[in-house]
Homo-oligomer: 146 residues x 2
């Protein structure tokens, strides 16, 4: 690794922090915070998780999570099913209202990205996706050795 590499990766990080910030701003105009949406995302895709699972996934404070789930419960986005095998724990699932809500957010995010990509000629778009996929693969390789 050359010293230059460090500087270039950091430059990319600054750049991409801005992009992500821009995209996230969008979500922040919804009624949900970033962590909330990410939790919904996981619940949507994994169907059932305990609070502890979510803590492990995101390394989020358990008090904070507890409140987020309480908010979700209050607005009927989730069902808490108390685990029969462990009476302290419960499994969380998105309710159908929760699923619908997530799908709405998800579609909006898709639209946003679509809108962004549509300014890029097809060839460039194809290239871009190839490159980020390859980059991601390499990054994962790097992380694997942590």
């Amino acid at each position: 690794m050359k010293p230059q590499h460090i500087q270039e990766l950091r430059a990319f990080n600054r750049f991409y922090t801005n992009i992500i910030g821009l995209l996230d701003r969008h979500i922040l105009n919804s009624n949900y915070s970033l962590p909330e949406v990410r939790i919904m995302y996981e619940l949507y895709h994994r169907s059932a998780l305990t609070a502890s699972d979510i803590i492990a996934l995101f390394d989020i404070d358990k008090g904070y999570l507890s409140r987020i789930l309480k908010k979700f419960e209050k607005s009927k986005l989730i069902n808490k099913i108390s685990s029969p095998s462990d009476k302290r724990a419960f499994v969380v699932q998105l309710s159908s209202k929760g699923k619908k809500e997530f799908e709405t957010l998800n579609k909006a995010s898709d639209k946003q990205i679509e809108n962004f990509l549509k300014n890029l000629p097809d060839k460039d778009c194809d290239d871009l996706i190839k490159k980020i996929n390859e980059a991601q693969k390499l990054l994962k390789k790097g992380l694997g050795h942590e």
Copy 2:
């Protein structure tokens, strides 16, 4: 652009949000918040900016910025030089203490990235940087048409 592209870019965004979050956690153990460090970064590299310049750069709330600069001033990281041409405005510069402080943070960030990259074989590292640079170029092209 194919529908698949949207999904892949979004997957990358989720992935990279985690990476950035991981890297930033580091800064958050320093005595500075992310916006603070980013402001220092700009001051370090551009040498002199007005508060309005900074607002334009980051699209940050001016009240919030005002307090950040006040904090910097209190800990003698910056000098406020009131502009002779506009008595409402002032130009901000890092003091030598401020420069030193930033350099310390900056070195720690370099180390962190170095540490991350050192797990990646040289060839991969080279590839990775090429790919993110190319991706960045394409992304900028996309943004240019917004």
